[in-house]
Assembly symmetry: D3
Homo-oligomer: 64 residues x 6
Amino acid sequence: MPVIRVEMYKGRSVDQKRAAAKALTQAFLDTCGGTPQSVQIIFIDVEKEDWAAAGILASDPKPA
Amino acid sequence: MPVIRVEMYKGRSVDQKRAAAKALTQAFLDTCGGTPQSVQIIFIDVEKEDWAAAGILASDPKPA
Amino acid sequence: MPVIRVEMYKGRSVDQKRAAAKALTQAFLDTCGGTPQSVQIIFIDVEKEDWAAAGILASDPKPA
Amino acid sequence: MPVIRVEMYKGRSVDQKRAAAKALTQAFLDTCGGTPQSVQIIFIDVEKEDWAAAGILASDPKPA
Amino acid sequence: MPVIRVEMYKGRSVDQKRAAAKALTQAFLDTCGGTPQSVQIIFIDVEKEDWAAAGILASDPKPA
Amino acid sequence: MPVIRVEMYKGRSVDQKRAAAKALTQAFLDTCGGTPQSVQIIFIDVEKEDWAAAGILASDPKPA
């Protein structure tokens, strides 16, 4: 433990994920303790057409 | 809040997701309250070969 | 399919969940098709101290 | 119920998933009871560049 | 990897979970390979009033 | 977006979660961009008897 799942819009580069994995792991260890080996992170890329807020797909224009 | 995650077979069109996002958001607001802006919905398309019921992949024929 | 998971602040009554289950199921069927029996909904109650936005727990006061 | 979600590295064949679906379903029924029809399994393939342990992407070389 | 999450009705004993953890792990290894140490299983107990099928909470009587 | 879900053993204090929420949010923003308001974090406390590695519940003694 822990398992940290990050759901975000598709589009982050591998370099960004590499940096995020390192920074999120450190952030968890600094505040909650544990060993680095125990921290697992899973990134889930989500298309904007698969994510909605206020009932509107993120790929659609916002109402004026 | 809330975050609503919908796992379903791949194949729904963007139009269906657009309508579903609107209808699911309204259904939540009508019954549980809150503001539209707070409702987030994430659709997860799952291939039939990645979903099993009764131990049989949905992509496989059902036993007679 | 589908499996619909609803993560929300703890505090909704069973009556609200009963109504939400009915309304969310209908919303899915109306827009994405399928049979009622195939729609499963799981509600996950989350304490406000377990949910953060902008780095601040929902149980904490918002900064002025 | 139950819903069993299996997140794993991408690369398992459909034959492996077919066998896993059967074996996992049986393992659940043997130990927790229930009917086969009630057991749903969802496989989620995760790219190695989307999974990190100890802050390092699984697609990257391990430090010496 | 893998991470296997099992959502089920509350009520299984620790003994059942102990047996299920062992059997599910073996089922995965037998069919998908990997090392025992890499298999993580998380059980999530769900109250029947938090799980609905066909729009009806599992804690409610089925319609005649 | 993003939604970050942290599954961990039960036992972290609210102070630890408060600090983790802040640190994880900053870690994401520093590496992946976005606005603070868009980052949501959900902590899920898991009992040790609900988490297994290598087929053994975390609440059980490790084999010698």
